[in-house]
Structures are given as C-alpha cells and as structure tokens.
C-alpha cells in the first residue's frame, strides 16, 4: 500500500448525496479476480453512454478534472455494497482523497486499506471546498495528514479527525495483517480460553 503524507491537487466536485458503490463501480466490473485496472470503469454508467462514449457533462470527463486526485462529494458517500472494487477503481483512476460530510462505514474502512484518505468535515467547510472544486484548474486543495488539516485554495485551514491507528498505517503504508500477526500469541490464548468457555463455537 502506498503511503499518504501530503497531497495538493485539483478536486472534482460531486455534490450528489448518497453516491453508492453501484454508481462508483457497477456490478458487471466485479467479475475480475484482480485488484487493478478498474479505473477505466469508475462511475461507468454516469461517465459513458450505452455505446461506451464519454458523456461530456460528467465531471471526470471534463478536461480540468481528468487529473483530479481529490473528490469533494455529497453526504453519505460510498453507501451500499461492501465491494472494495469501489476504492480500487477510485485509486486506479488516481483519486487519493475523498472529502464529504459523511461516509458509509464499510467504504470508509476499505479506503484506508488502499492508501485513500476519506475526510469528514462539517457541511459549511465542505461547501467551501466544493466551491473550490467547481473552479477546476483555478483552485487547488491541499491535505496534510500528519497535521490533520485541509487547506482551501484561499488558505482557509480545516482540521479533521482521524483514528490514530488508521492514521499511523496510512502515513507509513503499513499492511495491517502483518501488524496483527505480531499479536498471534494473544490470538492463540484467546482461542484456548474460548474453547473452554464456548466449546460449541
């Protein structure tokens, strides 16, 4: 997993609320047995017409946003299915950070496993950043994970909260299976004790 420290980028505005994982990556692309290569199908049904041609109005088809590494999105981004194909597709397209007023739980967790930083901010701050995003190449948003700040194009700084463990893993690009396996003796003793107290499991 790639580390995440700082990021400065154009942001793509997606103010629609309840953007679900079926929108992010429709089911026909879940048949892959790999993690890579899904970027070309990101937001497929919003991005391409029935003949596979780009829909010019869609934000990521506009020249300014093709290189965006940040999405500023409406409330409850990533709701629906648990498919990790959603963050895989975002990452493969080049998105490293999504900013919203809230995220669906499973999507939020999946982001951290893939080096994507989801940032929750209050509505008024997301509004400022959404305005920045709408300015395309004329406005860049900066993120500093270490100091937990987002800086708008005109220099306003917003602090965001993040779980310390998730932050640590993201800053260092850590594989958490490796970290958990360091605690294997705790797992062994839990299993031993549980085999006494709940032998039917």
């Amino acid at each position: 997993m790639d580390k995440f420290n700082t990021l400065t980028s154009i942001a793509a505005p997606m103010p629609l609320v309840n953007i679900d994982t079926d929108m992010i990556i429709p089911k026909q692309f879940l048949k892959t047995i790999q993690r890579s290569g899904l970027g070309k199908n990101l937001f497929d049904e919003m991005r391409f017409d029935d003949n596979g041609n780009e829909i010019p109005d869609f934000v990521l088809n506009q020249p300014a946003y093709r290189q965006a590494q940040i999405l500023v999105a409406g409330d409850n981004f990533g709701c629906g299915s648990s498919r990790e194909h959603a963050p895989w597709a975002l990452l493969d397209f080049g998105i490293r950070c999504v900013i919203s007023t809230s995220f669906a739980d499973i999507f939020y967790n999946n982001c951290f496993k893939n080096g994507i930083l989801p940032i929750v901010l209050p509505q008024d701050q997301v509004d400022v950043l959404m305005d920045d995003a709408r300015k395309g190449e004329n406005a860049r948003i900066s993120i500093d994970l270490e100091s937990q700040t987002v800086t708008s194009a005109d220099g306003q700084q917003f602090h965001f909260e993040i779980d310390p463990f998730k932050k640590h893993c993201l800053l260092n690009g850590l594989d958490d299976i490796g970290l958990t396996l360091e605690k294997v003796s705790s797992i062994d003793s839990f299993e031993k004790q549980a085999s006494q107290s709940r032998p039917w499991v």
């Binding site: 047995i33 409330d75 409850n76 648990s82 990790e84 039917w200």
Partner: protein, 472 residues
C-alpha cells in the same frame, strides 16, 4: 456493581482479543462466510505472502452472486468471467480446506440464507462476510457485518478484525403489525425515518413487541437491511423462537454442548438500564405496506401515497430527488398505485426464505399474473426450493405464470444473466433500488413478497390489502 450493558456490548466484550490504549480492538471472528465475488483477491493475497487460512473449520464458502438460476446451470456457466470467478472459489475452497457448498449441492444458496439454515450462525457469535448484507445474521443475536476484501484476507489469515467500537442505537417497534404488513415494511419504514445515513456509526438493536412477534425469517429480513440504514450491524436478542430455529441444524451444538450454549444464550439481552446513544420508536400499528419510489432505500412511502416532488425535500436531497424521479420516469403527484410494472422479482437474501415464498404464494393461489409480465421466483437456497416444492408453493407460482428458478442472488444485483433492460420497471423483494442495480437503466421498486405478488396480478404497484380482501 457491574456496568449495565447492551447486547452489542456483551457480544463485543466476549470477543476482544486485544485492546490498544487508543481503544482500537482486535476482535475474534467466530464465523467467516465467503462468496466468489469479494474473495479471489483475498485468497490470492494469502498465496503471495505465503500465509494460510487460520481457521478453515470456521470458514464457509458458497458461490451465489454469479450463478445462473436457470435449470440448465448444471451444464456450466456460460459467461466466461462469471465462470472464472466461481471456478476460483472452487479452487480456493478446496486448496485451503474450508467448508464449501458448490453450485450443484442442494445446500447451495445465498450465503446469508445458507449460514443460518446449516446452523453455522448461532447466538452470541461474531459473523463476517465480504458482503454488506451480512447484517442478516444479527437476527440470531449474533454481531454480524460486512467487510471489504482486504478485511476478508485479514480474517482468513488471523481469524480477527481490527475494529473500533460503534455506538448503541435502539429501534423499538411497539404493539402489533396490522394485516398485510410484514417485516419488510418494518425495515423499510425504519430507513424512511432514519435515512440511509442515520445509522452510520451505530449498531442497531431492534426490539419491542412487533419484533418479538416476528418469525426468525422475518427477523432476518429486518436485520438484513440494517446496512441500508447505514448501521454497522442490526441485532435482535435471541429468545425461544431463536433456540427453536437453531436446534437440530447440522452445525448447531448437540447434547451437553447444547445445554451449555443455551445457558449462555439466555443471558444475551440488553440490561434494563443499559445506555443507548440513540433511540427510535415506531408504533407497529402505524406501519403500512410500503414501496420505494426513488433510487435510495430511504425513498419509501406507504402504497396509498403519491410520488413526492423535489421541492418537498431540503439540502442535497432536492437534486438527488430530481435526478431520481427522472431516472425512475415518475411525475410528482402521481399515485403510487398507478405505476405500471414490467417485471416481478421475488427472492434475495432479504426475502428469499420459505416464509417469504409462502406469503407470496398465499396471494397468488388460484390467480394469474398479468399477461405480458415477466415474473420470477428465485428461492434463497436449494433447500428452500425443495421445501417450497414439497409444500406445493412451487406449483402455485408456476400456475400463476412465474418462472421457478434455482437458488442464487439473481436479479437482486444482476451479476448473473437475470437483469433488467433500460427503462424496465421491476417490483422487487430485494434490498437496493440504486441506479443500475438490477441492470443499466432498470427501475426498481422495493417491497414485501406479498406486495410483489399483488403487483404481479394487477401489473401495477398494488396495495396487498386489496388483493387479500378479494381472496377472503
């Protein structure tokens, strides 16, 4: 004096392997369910790192999302990508030695129906699966939730998950449901109140007389859609109905172990003075048969209502409703019962159990679907299908004009050939009405099995109570 705890607190506490100073916990996982779509990359990850499955005996694999549901499926899967995914599960299950129900095993079915049916799901357990509808298993008083593929790999390798504890929400449904109102109407009505983000950060415990009065099948329907309300999990405290359902299942404890398990299970309920971070109460008598009109499960109204206007909403929802009405091809003010449908889908992990098929068959008995309509029943498992055939339900569906399919997820998410065409409108007993969910451009209205059966007869969204009156 001990601190009062919720049911969630109790199950959580019983599974903490390790707690860091910042509250991050390593939680032990008792059951890991696996299907073909979200697992291939996880098994591949194990291979690449030389890791193994820590507890194959606690891991259960079954293909469900991609499998065709037509009778010719024993000849193999035509779609090459689907076939590769199902074959990959087959290879992984055998190589890593996990419990496995292959496509042509009669016990095969939707993972969330197979788990309880086989007695893998038991009260007080932690249950995870790379599938958001894992919440279903909460009906047994098990802490059950969906995970992503990286977490699937983590559970395979360590039998644990790194977790932060959620907050406690109580959803109480008082009194009794009126005739024609079902578990599906409860769970959709709750989402109508909370919104699809209302449960974010919480584990919900459903309680109250109306919940107690539900069968285990109904309770699974309620918990199944906890995720659609944004909650990490939904729970219902186990009771005599739970124990009765579990007893004698292939993987349920037997003999002295049953007695020991039962003694613990009976302690699995929230203490009277437990703390709740949020409480929602609905009167069972106030819940009507409902349908969804939009593209989010929160877009729910009683069947007697009219299609709303974007202006009826506030904030970001105004644009979302405008988009939804356009996508759904509906006009504000239109009566919901005037909406004509093309297709009926009865099935899914929400409503693919025997009781759901009984409810739909009761409405359809001696009737025909509207000519020209496409209608299918997809039982949730091979065993549900066999039971429905034994009970004569299959013949009722076939006589009415329904296709009688083999088990799988089918048109709930349309990864197999069962899909809607652009503009095709479906009365569905599934769980998501998202844009494109059942096929690109497809229009989904969510409802109970009885409501779907009623719609099949009239060819439009229909108040099941009217059809029930006719039958009486």
């Amino acid at each position: 004096m001990t601190v009062a705890k919720t049911l969630y607190d109790k199950i959580w506490d019983a599974h903490v392997v390790h707690e860091d100073k910042d509250g991050t916990c390593l939680l032990y996982i008792d059951r890991h369910l696996v299907h073909e779509v979200t697992s291939p990359q996880a098994f591949e990850g194990l291979r690449m790192t030389g890791r193994t499955v820590r507890a194959p005996e606690k891991t259960i694999a079954v293909p469900d999302h991609n499998v065709p549901t037509t009778p010719d499926r024993e000849n193999g899967i035509e779609n090459p990508e689907s076939r590769i995914q199902v074959d990959a599960l087959d290879r992984n299950a055998r190589e890593f030695g996990v419990n496995y129900y292959p496509v042509n095993d009669i016990r095969q079915g939707i993972v969330h129906i197979v788990g309880p049916e086989q007695g893998w799901t038991l009260p007080g357990m932690t249950v995870v699966c790379g599938d958001s509808h894992t919440a279903t298993h909460g009906a047994f008083g098990a802490l059950a939730h969906g995970i992503g593929t990286s977490e699937v790999e983590h559970v395979l390798a360590t039998q644990t998950l790194i977790q932060q504890k959620s907050k406690n929400m109580k959803v109480e449904i008082t009194g009794s449901l009126r005739p024609g109102v079902t578990a599906k109407d409860i769970t959709l009505s709750v989402i109508g109140v909370t919104g699809t983000a209302g449960g974010t950060g919480y584990v919900i415990e459903y309680c109250g007389q109306a919940i107690r009065e539900l069968s285990m099948e109904g309770r699974m329907t309620v918990c199944n859609m906890a995720i659609e309300g944004g909650a990490r999990a939904g729970l219902i405290a186990p009771d005599e109905k739970t124990f009765e359902y579990v007893k004698g299942r292939p993987h349920a404890p037997k003999g002295a172990q049953w007695d020991a398990a039962l003694a613990w299970w009976k302690t699995l309920k929230s203490d009277d003075d437990a703390h709740w971070d949020k409480v929602i109460t609905l009167r069972g008598e106030d819940i009507a048969p409902v349908v969804t009109w939009g593209t989010s499960p929160e877009d729910v109204l009683p069947i007697t209502a009219n299609v709303p206007a974007a202006e009826d909403f506030a904030g970001g929802k105004v644009d979302a409703v405008r988009r939804a009405l356009d996508y759904m091809g509906l006009k504000p003010g239109q009566k919901l019962t005037d909406i004509e449908i093309d297709t009926v889908f009865i099935g899914s992990c929400t409503n693919g159990r025997i009781e759901d098929l009984r409810a739909a068959a009761a409405i359809l008995k001696g009737k025909k679907i509207k000519p020209g309509l496409r209608a299918m029943v997809v039982p949730g498992s091979g065993l549900v299908r066999a039971q429905a055939e034994d009970e004569g339900l299959a013949q009722i569906f076939i006589d009415a004009g329904f296709e009688w399919r083999l088990a799988g997820c089918s048109m709930c998410l349309a990864m197999n050939p069962d899909q809607l065409s652009p503009g095709e409108r479906c009365a569905a007993t599934s769980n998501r009405n998202f844009e494109g969910r059942q096929g690109r451009g497809g229009r989904t209205h969510l409802m109970s099995p009885g409501m779907a059966a009623a719609a099949a007869i009239t060819g439009r969204l229909t108040d099941v109570r009217e059809v029930m009156t006719e039958s009486a």
